[in-house]
Every structure is written in structure tokens, then in C-alpha cells.
Amino acid sequence: MRKKLMSILLGAAMCMSLLAGCGNSAGNSQTTDAGSTADSTAQTEGTQPDASDETGDTAEAQDAASSGEKITLQFWNVFTGSDGDILRGIVDNYNKTNTDNIEIQMDIMPNDQLQQKLPAAIATGTAPDFVLFGVENLAPYVSNDSLEDISDFWEVTGVDKSNILENVLELSHVDGKLYGTPMQYNVSYLYWNKDLFEAAGLDPEKAPATLEELAEYAEKLTDPSKNQYGLALPTSVTYMQFLWANGGDADDPATNTNLLDSEENLATLTWLQDLMVNKKVSPENITGPEADTMLQAGQIAMYMSGPWQINGLREQGINFGIAPCVAGSAGAFSPAGGCSYVIPKGTEESHRLAAYKFMQYWLTDDILKEWSQKNGFPVWSKTLMEDPEIQNDEVLNSISKATEIGRSYNLGYSLASQIDNDVMIPMFEKVMTGAATPEDALKEASEAMDKVLAQ
């Protein structure tokens, strides 16, 4: 009976994540994506108040506070999950307290919907004043001349850019020009369920550190009779951390070269296929949101994902740990990602300056601290890192170690999404389902890569 009830509950939870899942598909392609941020936490969706409810009294308060002409900013973003509630709280608070008579009207939508609407809106001059999305989207917009170059941001606002970690700031640049200001930064971590580790006779405080350990632990933690899996490896995701760990890579965006066809990659893919097909440590063909749900239900012992898992795991009372992605012969790496505030082309000057003000507000340590503490996102403001509260936060501490190994995978490269969807994801899927031998899958992917790079 209990099991039945459980399966119904799980079904309902899965339904929620699928609901979110259909709103997001481009987002699934990268674990470090803003889209999946939104997805994985979508369970609490629907509790947020409507933007229009809030704006009425705010407007009055502002009229009294300031005599300058009122500026209303349209703001689109992809934060459909519980992190969206926190963002809305911050924006509402800004609307109430700012002295520049600025009112921000926020519009939240799933990532793929935003990606459909925004280009057309920019082309027809009906775009919002500023937008918040994953940095992997920057390059296609820049190459189509659809975003404002905001290199003058530091000069205009007086924000000290040297206080922001270099690698985080770099994500908002394309070809050396600034197109956005950082909002959050993340890499993929290794989450592990301490209770399941203990039950399997492993040290619950020690996460695997190498590829060998990962495979060994995953095998020990898999128990088909209990529907329990050692390591969730969703398809429709790229596993750059594995390729990099052994010294392989996909491509070099700087020189447009194909780096797929290598001994290192072949070894990694062979290892991966063995793990999936022979050892069956992961449920077959699951999607990211499904893996999130199973992790929260305690059916999965280890899983690699971004910071957005933390809130869900806390809510479900899972006893979990966070470790860096595992190392191979060449070291440990993890794909980096993040979100930036950007300004669409054609935003008028006064609105652009007003948007600068909000970006500046976001970059203050108070806001960054609130965001990191509530959502478990790593801290990248140098002064904030010195903050004793941040330094004593257990989750943020384990994260900051795991964040050090962040590495850019085709960020800022206009072919990134095509490489993912047409080359890398099919390759990993074929290897992981056993539909092709690692040799054939790699060869086919390498040919597909040549085609994409030739454009």
C-alpha cells in the first residue's frame, strides 16, 4: 500500500517536472543551463503572485518619493522555478526602494519560449528593455547584431569590475566586448546521497574522486530489486567532464578545429558504455527532470548537476553531499555556465541607463549574498568572499571548492547549440544506449562535427 501511494506521489512529482520539461528543450542540452535551473525547481511553480498585483502600490510610493519622470522597464527572464520567486522578491523590493523612479515589470517564461519570442521581438522593435538568460545564448544574438554592446557599463555606473572573478566576467563577453553583466555563475557538481552510501557499506562522507572510483561506487550502489541506481546519467546531455577528465575535448572554438577523433575520447566513451550497458548503473534513457525527481526521491545515489538541485534536495530532506566532478588521467573539470543581464538592440538610451541602474543594484554584495545563500549559487564577488557568514556557510563552502574546476565548453561560440544538438548529444546517446560501438559513434560524430564546423 505504502509503495503504491509512493508511486502515485512520484507520478505526480514527475508530472510536474514533465510539465516544466515540455517548456524546455534547448535547456536540457546542457547541465549548466539556465533552462534546467528553472526546470528542476519547477515544483513550487504557481505559488508566485502575479506581477501586476504588485505594481499598483509600488507606483504610488514612487510618485511620492521622486519627482523625476517615471521609467517603466520591461524585463523578460527564464526563471520559472522557485529561484524565480526569490528573483521576484528582489525586483519587487527594488521597485519599492529605488530613488530613480524606475519600475520593473517582470515577465517570466520558459527558456525555449523566450528563445522563440525574443529574436522576433528585436527584429520588430517590440523587445523588452532588458533580458536575463543563460550565457550560452549570447553568441547567436551577438552574431546577428541583436544585443547592445554595453562596454561602457563600468564607466557609467562606477562599478568596480576588478571585484568580480575574471572567469565569471569573461562569460558575459563576446569577442572582447561586454554584452551583459553577470547574474549568477555555476558549474556541475557531483551530488551524493549519504544514506544510500552508508547502506551500501561505503563511507558516507567520502565522495568518489576519480573515474574508477565513480564506476566502482556506482556499481555497488545499484540495486535493481529496490529500483535504486548508483549514478544517474540522463541522455540529451553532454558529458564534457568525462571527456576532459581523460584529456579529450570536442572542438576548439578559437580555431574552428575538430578535436573529437582521439584515443582519449575513445577510451572515455568505452568506459561510459561499459558503465551504462554492462553495469547498468543508471536508469535507461531518462531525461534531466526525471533524474532530478528520482534523486529527490532517494532512488539515485549519485548525480552530476548544477546548484539548482540544492533547494529541492533540502525540501525533500535528502541527506546529501556536494563534491567536485571526478578526475581522470588529465585532471578534473566541470562545464561552467551562468546567467547574464543583457540589453536587446534598439532599447532607447534612457531605458538602457535605467537598466544599468538595476544591474548595478544586482552587483552589490547584499543582493549577491542573498541570492547565493537562498539558492546555493557560488559567490564570485571578491569582497563577498571575505564575508564571515559566507565563509561559514557549509553548502557554499563545498560549492566553492567544486566551482574551482569550472571550464568553458563552447561558451561564446555561435555554433555551440548546433554542436550540442547535432553532434555531441547524439554521440553520447548512441554510446550510452549501446546503439553503436564507441568507435562507430565517435567516427560518425567526428564527421558530423566537420559538417557543422564547415559552416
Binding site: 508511486s7 535507461e284 544538438n421
Partner: protein, 304 residues
């Protein structure tokens, strides 16, 4: 005489003018949502245009050359045909079978017909989500039951070989109630005297079905075949919701690939996506033409 004729012409012309006025509202709607997009997609298909709509260039047939070399187009075409060839007969066969039992005007038949009609009124998205929940190998109810019964779990939507058949069965399950309603209405319209005459000639219920019922409802059957074939060739939502085209692109249909090229994969190549749309348009047009010709001629024979 001449005068009279002129009058009549004027009268006819007036009559026609008001006729145009009556079709104006639907013409406006059709133009905005069908004709203009149709023509636009033909035009876009011969250009190099992305979703940003900047630097649009005329490229002639380049998109079409690319299309015929694209393995994913072949794969998607195969999947669409595979879906259509199995789904349409399944749905219509199931409906026909139940029509035999339920084409009566008693309460029981009416109730069952309404129940079978229910899934058709529901949104495909909702149905897709419910079924993928039920059929999920890790968390689903069906998998749980199968396990209790000692049967090895089939991964259904997660298994490359079972995914498409599962989508087909779910779609047929959703649609057969509609076909059933149409067919039952047609059957009820057949004159009872035909059946009585056949009985007098000593025909059994099987012969009555083959020789009276089927020919009597043939126009309705052919209507159902044509419309469900067209919608099956344009299948999108069920696979999008239940499988996202996977596993291994085994459930990716032509429409899904169009959506993927146009809106999911940068550089959001609208030109190429439109070229695939034109390709699909031609396929559907040919199939419809052939079906109509074949089925309608048979229908006329049957009428005679």
C-alpha cells in the same frame, strides 16, 4: 428580351456580391492563418533566413539540396510514415469493430460511446503526460503492476523499439472515439429495410455487415481515412510531450524536425525549416490526392 437578360445578369451579379460578403469572414481568417503563411513558407524556403531576420539572402534551391542529403529528414519521413501506416488502420479498425457492437440507440451504447469520446476532448499534452507517467519504467504504475505480476518491465517510451508503437497506441486510444461517433451516426442512418430484405434472402450478420453496413457508411469511412491520414502525417504534440523525438530520434517526425531546426537549434534556420515544411506539404498533398482518388472512386462504385 435583351433588356430582360441584362436585368437578370445584374441580379445574379448582385447575388454573387452578397455571397462574397458571406464568405469574407472565413476568408479573412483562412488568409491570415493558412494562405499567407503557406505562401510565406514557400518564399522563405528559397532564402537563407534565420529567426533574427537579418541579412536575408536568396539561395535558390540550396535548402532543398541540403534536405535530400540530410539523414535526419529521411529518418523523420520514415517515422512519420511508420506512424501513419500503423495508426490510421488501428484507429479506424478499432472504431469499426466497436461500431458493430455500439451502433444502437439504447442507453448502454450511448453511454459507452460518450465514454470512448472523452479522450478525444482532452488535450494531447495532458494525455501525453498522463501516459508517460503511467508507463515510466522507474516510477510508473504500469511498470509497478507488471513487476507485481512477475513480468519483466518493458521500458515503453524509453525503449528505442517500443517508443513509436507506444505513441501509436496512445494516439489511437485518444482518437478512436471520434471516429466511432462518426461511424455510428452513419450506421444509424442506414435504412432498416435493407437489412430486412437481406434477412429475407437469408444473409447472416457477417454478410449484412460486409454487404450493407460497410457500403452504406463508406463515404464516412473514407472521410475518416483521409482526415486521420493528414493529421497523422503532421503528428507532433504526442511525440514532443512523451518522447521529445527520442530515444535515438526514433520517434522524431517531420514536423518535430521542422520545429527543431526553426526554433530549437541555433542558428534557428527558418529557411531550412521552411524547406522541410514545403517538402512535407508536397508529401501530404500527394498522399491526400491518391487517397481521395482511390477511395472516392471506390465509394462511387459502392453507391452504384
Amino acid at each position: 428580351m435583351i433588356n430582360n437578360k441584362g436585368k437578370r445578369k445584374r441580379y445574379e451579379a448582385q447575388n454573387q456580391k452578397s455571397a462574397y460578403l458571406f464568405i469574407l469572414p472565413s476568408m479573412v481568417v483562412l488568409s491570415v492563418f493558412v494562405f499567407i503563411p503557406l505562401i510565406a513558407s514557400f518564399v522563405i524556403s528559397i532564402t537563407d533566413m534565420n529567426i533574427f531576420m537579418k541579412d536575408v539572402q536568396f539561395v535558390g534551391t540550396a535548402n532543398f539540396t541540403k534536405l535530400f542529403a540530410d539523414k535526419r529528414v529521411t529518418n523523420a519521413t520514415f517515422n512519420s510514415l511508420y506512424f501513419t501506416i500503423l495508426e490510421v488502420p488501428l484507429q479506424i479498425g478499432l472504431a469499426l469493430l466497436l461500431t458493430v457492437c455500439l451502433a444502437k440507440n439504447n442507453k448502454y451504447s450511448k453511454l459507452l460511446r460518450s465514454i470512448y469520446y472523452l479522450p478525444f476532448v482532452c488535450s494531447m499534452t495532458a494525455i501525453g503526460i498522463v501516459w508517460s507517467m503511467l508507463l515510466d519504467p522507474n516510477m510508473g504504475l504500469v511498470a509497478y503492476w507488471l513487476k507485481q505480476a512477475g513480468i519483466d518491465t518493458i521500458a515503453f517510451l524509453k525503449d528505442p523499439d517500443f517508443a513509436m508503437p507506444t505513441v501509436i497506441v496512445v494516439t489511437a486510444w485518444k482518437g478512436f472515439g471520434y471516429t466511432l461517433t462518426l461511424l455510428a451516426a452513419a450506421v444509424l442512418n442506414i435504412s432498416q429495410s435493407l437489412y430486412e430484405a437481406a434477412e429475407m434472402d437469408g444473409a447472416g450478420s457477417f454478410h449484412k455487415f460486409i454487404h450493407i453496413t460497410i457500403p452504406g457508411i463508406w463515404p464516412t469511412i473514407s472521410f475518416c481515412i483521409v482526415t486521420s491520414t493528414i493529421s497523422a502525417m503532421q503528428m507532433f504534440d504526442q511525440a514532443y510531450v512523451m518522447t521529445q523525438g527520442g530515444p535515438l530520434n526514433r520517434t522524431e517526425t517531420v514536423v518535430q524536425y521542422i520545429y527543431d531546426r526553426g526554433f530549437q537549434t541555433a542558428p534557428y534556420d527558418l529557411g531550412y525549416a521552411s524547406a522541410i515544411s514545403v517538402y512535407l506539404f508536397v508529401i501530404v498533398a500527394v498522399i491526400t490526392f491518391v487517397l481521395r482518388k482511390f477511395i472516392l472512386s471506390r465509394g462511387e462504385d459502392a453507391d452504384v
